[in-house]
């Protein structure tokens, strides 16, 4: 009986925060703390439901919750809670709950509190709805709504021009990805209709089970693009991945994420570290059966993920802004997750487990990093690391929790044992999988990407730790430790960042691997991989010892370098970190992305050339229309002069008219 009861509450998971949004939005002003209590209670409710469902499902992963209702036409909305969704729901509601609590204090001085809490509540609702959607359209709808909330929250301090600009940039850049995603959905819809031979009564066209059941047929459809025969499934999955690129800040659509740090730090923690940006990873995981059945798609995912992990790391290492370092770190870690998923072409369903495991752990330690950074910014009033230093003395709790988070991020742990941070248990399997991939296909590029990125990760995060918390203050700030309402969430998160990975390691992956074999869908991943011409091989853990230890070694190397340069200051950075150094300039200018994307592509090509030319065409079309009027008036002005006013001329006209008309008619009659 408990089971049925729980199922019936499932729909409340997104509804509760949504209601909180409405209440806080309209009545928040009249309430203490901007009505924060409603979102907190609602999200707590969501968390409880999610967590209970997850717990129950751990025992019986085949029995998933699936409810569908007709929305419009052949489309539906519904709830699907399978292992994948369950862990995501729990994580999202949990992190969101902690951050909301933290924000009560963090935002306490801001007059826009009601708006803030309303928008974050809406965000949570949308994110939860995204996670538990049972069809691709609801997924997309929620996907867009979280994007909207991201836009609104980045631009929360809209009076700051930079915030308004960053919000716009975030929305537009992710919109590029969204359009690809939408295109994928549209092609998918069109293909499904074709394959199903029209609308079938009783089936919901875009529900995941329906989609998955057509994977072989979709794969068989071929399109000819520039002479290449490409499977429709590949096109669709790549377009989906395009959406994921935008949302999860993968190269080349990662540019918005660092700018998004213009929003309040809590927003960065919630949206741009823990939850929304992982939606892209979640999308790929959710549609993993399609990806694995599509030739070449996972390869693209792996390459782009790996490259992003490295690429973002290089920029993270030169940033001076506390939050920007974290932002690049997020991009880099999301790259890891993508890489993990991409390696599914070799390790199969395990990739989902590895990647989502990293996603969850990342949520904890990255949220923690941001909240710690927020704590520092809240106390000190600046986020430029060059002006910080020695904060550890003033804010010990923050310093400790942040160091824990950093260790987790860098992936410290002892291979072969159960000792290690959360990040260690989820990042290392990815790197190991990359090794297996390399071994299997003699393609070492993903592995090289991942190992290099691991080094950079360690380097930039300890650079941050040392620059911020050690040494002497480099500017005149007055800091103080944050109040308990802020430090308690920090501590909770620190706990999770430290031990969650170690505790759940074995069960977690096994649990997630049940995602595609249950009462909702029952897929044979091996067969699907065959369709995608992917050969699956064994699991991780049997690599040479060096390979197991290598990630730790490079992480230590990174730590050591950071320690030498930023703590002991044995190396003078002056000439190296100057704009005269082309490599530094390239990194500091972030590979000239602003110049290429904003100034050249957007303003130059689209706005300056294409839109300008269209406007010229518009003027021409308009002039043609106007010309009719002008010509008519001109002709009229001339023609009226025929009427000279002299009666003799009138008579002439009459007589000439008679004569000419006779001749004219005669001539025409002759011709005809």
């Amino acid at each position: 009986m408990v089971k049925t009861a729980l199922e019936e509450f499932a729909f409340l998971i997104p509804i509760l925060p949504a209601l909180a949004f409405v209440i806080t939005f309209f009545f928040g002003k009249k309430m203490p703390a901007g009505g924060a209590i409603f979102p907190i209670l609602a999200i707590a409710g969501s968390f409880v439901i999610s967590f209970m469902i997850t717990l129950r499902m751990l025992g019986n992963p085949e029995e998933v919750i699936s409810q569908s209702h007709s929305w419009f036409a052949v489309l539906n909305f519904g709830v699907l809670i399978d292992p994948l969704a369950a862990v995501m729901l729990s994580m999202v509601s949990f992190v969101s709950l902690l951050i909301h609590i933290y924000a009560v204090s963090y935002m306490s001085h801001d007059p826009g509190k009601p708006r803030y809490f309303a928008e974050t509540a809406l965000f949570t609702a949308a994110m939860l709805s995204l996670v538990l959607s049972d069809n691709i359209l609801q997924f997309f709808v929620s996907w867009e709504l979280v994007g909207l909330c991201s836009y609104l929250l980045i631009g929360f301090w809209f009076e700051k021009p930079s915030a308004a600009a960053a919000a716009k940039k975030a929305f537009l850049t992710t919109r590029v990805g969204d359009v690809m995603f939408l295109t994928g959905i549209i092609i998918l819809t069109s293909d499904l209709l074709k394959l199903a031979g029209g609308f079938q009564d009783g089936t919901y066209l875009l529900r995941f089970d329906e989609i998955f059941s057509y994977i072989p047929q979709l794969s068989a459809l071929q399109a000819n693009i520039f002479g290449f025969e490409i499977s429709h499934l590949t096109i669709i999955t790549l377009l989906f991945f395009g959406g994921a690129i935008g949302k999860s800040g993968q190269f080349p659509l990662h540019v918005w994420l660092p700018d998004a740090m213009e929003g309040p730090t809590t927003v960065s923690a919630l949206i741009h570290a823990a939850t929304m940006v992982t939606a892209g990873v979640y999308l790929v995981a959710r549609t993993f059966p399609m990806f694995i059945a599509a030739p070449d798609s996972l390869m693209v995912v792996a390459y782009l993920g790996g490259f992003t992990a490295l690429f973002a790391g290089t920029m993270g290492i030169v940033m001076n802004d506390l939050k920007r370092v974290l932002a690049y770190s997020t991009i880099s870690q999301l790259g890891y997750m993508m890489l993990g998923l991409g390696l599914g072409s070799v390790i199969g369903l395990e990739a989902v487990g590895v990647s989502i495991f990293h996603l969850i752990n990342h949520a904890f330690f990255k949220a923690l990093l941001f909240l710690c950074a927020g704590s520092v910014i809240h106390a000190v009033g600046t986020q430029d690391m060059r002006e910080l230093g020695g904060v550890g003395k003033v804010m010990p709790i923050t310093a400790v929790t942040m160091t824990i988070a950093a260790l987790s991020l860098a992936g410290f742990g002892i291979p072969g044992t159960l000792i290690g941070t959360s990040g260690f248990f989820s990042k290392d399997p990815i790197i190991e999988a990359a090794y297996i991939f390399g071994e299997h296909s003699n393609n070492w590029i993903p592995y090289l990407f991942s190992i290099a990125a691991a080094f950079l990760t360690s380097a930039y995060i300890f650079r941050l730790i040392f620059m911020t918390f050690t040494g002497k203050p480099r500017s005149n700030y007055h800091g103080h430790e944050s109040p308990a309402i802020m430090t308690v969430p920090l501590a909770i998160l620190a706990l999770f960042a430290l031990v969650f990975g170690g505790l759940t390691r074995t069960g977690f992956m096994a649990f997630l691997e049940e995602t595609f074999t249950n009462s909702f869908v029952n897929l044979n991943i091996g067969n699907l991989a065959g369709i995608g011409r992917n050969e699956l091989i064994g699991t991780t853990g049997n690599e040479p010892l060096l390979i197991l230890w290598l990630p730790l070694i490079v992480a230590l190397a990174g730590l050591a370098i950071a320690f030498l340069i930023y703590y002991l200051r044995v190396v003078k950075l002056g000439p190296l970190a100057s704009m005269k150094n082309p490599i530094y300039r390239l990194l500091y200018k972030r590979y000239y992305q602003h110049e290429i994307y904003t100034e050249f592509l957007s303003l130059g090509i689209v706005y300056g050339v294409i839109a300008f030319l269209t406007q010229v065409i518009d003027v021409i079309i308009d002039s043609i229309v106007e010309a009719f009027g002008i010509i008519t008036v001109g002709v009229s002005e001339e023609l009226r002069k025929v009427q000279t006013g002299v009666v003799q001329n009138y008579a002439t006209a009459v007589i000439a008219g008679v004569g000419l008309l006779i001749i004219l008619v005669k001539l025409i009659m002759e011709v005809i």
Binding site: T632, L639, Q643, A651, V665, K666
Partner: protein, 486 residues
């Protein structure tokens, strides 16, 4: 040779009513003082109204009188309805125009005699009668056009009207003489029965074009239209209404009778001639109207354009087209007469005030803010110009609807396209007039509309809307009339 009985005379009751009213007015007017002469206007209105009722009642009768020189049929009765409707509007409006004038009786007698002439033309079944009646309508209106003897414009308009009218009369007579020479008769049915020489010889074309010139003068077809803008502009507005709405239709009915009934054998020739004239006329009228600043002159050019549309019937020559064309004449009578009366109201307003442009009393500038100064005049003028532009639900729309659609039916899409584009072009200047009336600030006081103008406008508006909203009876009559021609 049948004898003239009272029964036969009853067929002519409308004509008799009109002409005798004219004579009575002339007679008693002599003995009245200028102040009491207003009564004459009402008397004339009453006479015209009586004739109108008699005409409507006589619908459906057919008769041939006076040795077959007069034919009473649906066509004649329909056109009499047109002329009498115009005469009614003009008589009503002229009550105000002739207020305190010493020459009321002359005015009304001439109006009524002109109307009588037009009515006879509508019935004429013999070229001699047709020519005489045509001249009657012309002669009476020459004097009317110059009725404001102290007004240089009025006189100039009358003079031009007279010169071109006389030349055209001569041309017509010349043309008739050839027709007579070729057939040996002046009776329309007899001509139709004996077209051999005309069809086989060049003189047929010459005669046709001469006749077209003669009728085209009244119809105001380019290039026989030259007098029209000047005269319409210069004449008193009520007279312009009579000319544009009434006497123009006389040209059409004469042309219907002479070309379609008498010279049917020469259809290819006159069809071609009318094709050229119709297209040139509607285009010229619309284009030149665009740049006019005098409202009456603009209406004159618009009247040219409308003549071009009506003349399309001679080109298309299907029963539907003739129906449309005949329907159009009635619609145009209401619209154009109404529009000129509205202009007359403005001219009156201008001359009774001091703030406006007096040199050209019907200048567009004087229409500024008319919506505030004389709301009813502005509203009815708006209805008239929108009707002229063919915007539903007005008579103009229905008329164009039937006429243009018949062009499509006959497969002359090109002609329909020209006509439609012209119609769209016309909106340009009509809309400008509306703009002046409603969108520009008034430059004078609000003025109470005199009753006669209001009554005349009301009648015209009623006609325009009735024909737009309930065209069925009018269409039936027009169809009957068209049947006479086919």
């Amino acid at each position: 040779m049948e004898s003239l009985t009272m029964g036969n005379l009853m067929f002519l009751a409308p004509e008799i009513a009109v002409v005798s009213t004219g004579l009575i007015i002339l007679l008693i007017g002599v003995f009245m003082s200028p102040r009491t002469k207003n009564v004459l206007g009402y008397l004339a209105t009453l006479g015209v109204l009586t004739a109108l009722v008699l005409t409507v009642e006589s619908f459906g009768t057919n008769a041939a009188l006076f040795s077959g020189t007069i034919s009473i049929d649906a066509l004649s009765q329909f056109f009499k309805l047109v002329f009498l409707a115009v005469a009614l509007i003009v008589s009503l409006a002229a009550i105000k125009y002739n207020e305190n004038s010493d020459h009321t009786e002359e005015f009304y007698t001439l109006v009524l005699f002109a109307t009588f002439g037009m009515m006879v033309v509508a019935s004429a079944n013999d070229l001699i009668l047709l020519f005489c009646a045509f001249e009657l309508a012309s002669l009476a209106t020459y004097a009317l056009a110059g009725f404001e003897k102290q007004n240089a414009r009025s006189l100039e308009g009358a003079m031009k009207y007279f010169i071109i009218g006389s030349v055209s009369a001569a041309l017509m007579l010349f043309g008739i003489s050839f027709v007579y020479g070729a057939t040996g008769t002046t009776s329309i049915p007899a001509i139709a029965a004996n077209p051999a020489i005309l069809t086989g010889n060049p003189i047929g074309l010459v005669a046709i074009v001469l006749l077209i010139a003669g009728f085209g003068f009244k119809m105001a077809l380019v290039p026989f239209h030259m007098w029209a803008p000047d005269t319409y502009q210069g004449s008193p507005s009520v007279v312009s209404a009579l000319l544009a709405a009434g006497s123009k239709k006389m040209g059409f009915v004469a042309a219907f009778r002479v070309f379609i009934l008498a010279l049917a054998a020469l259809q290819p020739d006159w069809q071609l001639a009318f094709t050229v004239l119709a297209v040139v006329t509607m285009t010229f009228g619309n284009v030149v109207a665009v740049s006019q600043t005098s409202v009456k002159r603009m209406l004159a050019y618009s009247s040219l354009a409308q003549a071009g549309y009506i003349a399309m019937a001679f080109v298309v020559m299907t029963p539907m087209a003739l129906t449309g064309s005949i329907f159009y004449t009635l619609a145009h009578a209401f619209m154009k007469a109404g529009a000129f009366i509205a202009a007359a109201a403005v001219v009156w307003m201008v001359s009774s005030g001091k703030t406006d442009r007096l040199d050209i009393p019907d200048h567009l500038d004087n229409f500024k803010g008319l919506g505030k100064r004389m709301p009813f005049a502005a509203l009815s003028m708006t209805i008239f110009v929108f009707a002229l532009a063919g915007i539903p639900p007005t008579a103009g729309f229905m008329a164009k609807f039937v006429l243009f659609s018949s062009t499509i039916q006959a497969g002359m899409t090109w002609l329909a396209v020209i006509a439609i584009l012209n119609s769209a072009l016309s909106l340009f200047y009509y809309a400008r007039l509306v703009k002046y009336m409603y969108f520009l600030p008034p430059e004078g006081q609000k003025i109470r509309m005199p009753f006669p103008y209001a009554a005349a406008l009301l009648f015209a508006v009623a006609g325009v809307l009735a024909m737009g909203l309930w065209p069925e009876p009018f269409l039936q009559w027009a169809m009957e009339a068209a049947k006479v021609l086919v």
